[in-house]
């Protein structure tokens, strides 16, 4: 399985990769994007099975990236990893077609629970 991690923070991309490993999902291919626009392009070029995306990013935020993907016909599994876990954000994510929203700070268990819904 190939996972695309989109976050403008290199620190957070590393923490997500580490947490995936701790959650028992360390064997996947990982590719990284620094913002939503790059993630949008990399879904085309890298064909990931899952996108794990931050919400708040420069250039293009995560929700605009998801909307653009769905508008283009992409059905790639998409989950948010974001500091904003309010019910309003969860509903907006679900309406746009996100499979889950993991709120920062997170645990390996939260990752495992979320990934099991798409793997």
């Amino acid at each position: 399985m190939k996972i695309l991690i989109a976050d403008d923070s290199r620190v957070m991309r590393q923490i997500v990769i580490r947490t995936l490993r701790q959650a028992g999902h360390g064997g996947h291919d990982i590719v990284e994007a620094e913002n939503g626009r790059q993630a949008l392009e990399m879904v085309q070029t890298e064909s990931p099975d899952l996108v794990l995306s931050d919400w708040n990013m420069p250039e293009m935020n995560g929700i605009d990236c998801l909307d653009a993907l769905r508008a283009a016909g992409s059905t790639v599994a998409f989950g948010f990893v974001t500091s904003e876990g309010s019910e309003e954000m969860r509903q907006r994510a679900a309406t746009s077609g996100a499979a889950f929203l993991i709120a920062k700070p997170f645990t390996p268990e939260a990752f495992d629970d979320a990934l099991r819904t798409v793997i």
């Binding site: 620190v11 957070m12 708040n56 990013m57 974001t82 500091s83 309010s86 700070p105």
Partner: protein, 166 residues
């Protein structure tokens, strides 16, 4: 860092987050990133005291919309570097670059700010974090409504919430 604010000047009586909630959000974030055994310790600091670290890093996020406020994080320089090393799994703090610290400290304030935003009336928007080496300085059109002073490995850490209104 001069924390600029772009609030709606007509906003009045902006609600303040509960101090215990801000403390809890800060402690939870810290332990989630650094481990259960790395709790922050409460640090009694007189009201109005400037952040007293010899060297500091600071970061801020702004919330606008249903609730308006600025959330800032200030850390002792050595603590900022140690936390960054831990977050990036860098074995020695001597190998931590300023860019790494800026990234890590920005992510810390993003997490605290996002959590506080979730506790307050919405809908609202969280800004991208701004980060600087040095203490945070606030404009005169905001007032402090919440301050958490804690310590980690004897180094001071401060989280503040400011809302519009002199």
């Amino acid at each position: 860092m001069n924390v600029l604010s772009f609030f709606d000047p007509s906003a009045a009586d902006v609600e303040a987050p509960d101090l215990d909630d801000v403390r809890s959000v800060t402690e939870d974030m810290w332990m989630a990133l650094l481990g259960e055994g790395e709790a922050l310790v409460t640090r009694p600091v007189p009201a109005g005291s400037p952040f007293d670290a010899a060297g500091a890093w600071s970061a801020a996020v702004t919330v606008t919309g249903g609730w308006q406020g600025v959330v800032t994080l200030e850390l002792d320089e050595a603590i900022a570097r140690e936390v960054t090393a831990r977050m990036l799994a860098i074995p020695s703090v001597h190998d931590v670059h300023d860019g790494d610290v800026a990234d890590a400290v920005g992510e810390l304030v993003n997490m605290v700010g996002g959590s506080i935003k979730s506790l307050m009336p919405g809908p609202s928007t969280l800004s991208l974090p701004s980060v600087a080496a040095g203490r945070a300085a606030f404009a005169s059109d905001v007032r402090e409504v919440c301050r958490v002073d804690v310590a980690w490995h004897d180094g001071p850490v401060r989280v503040c919430v400011h809302v519009p209104g002199a």
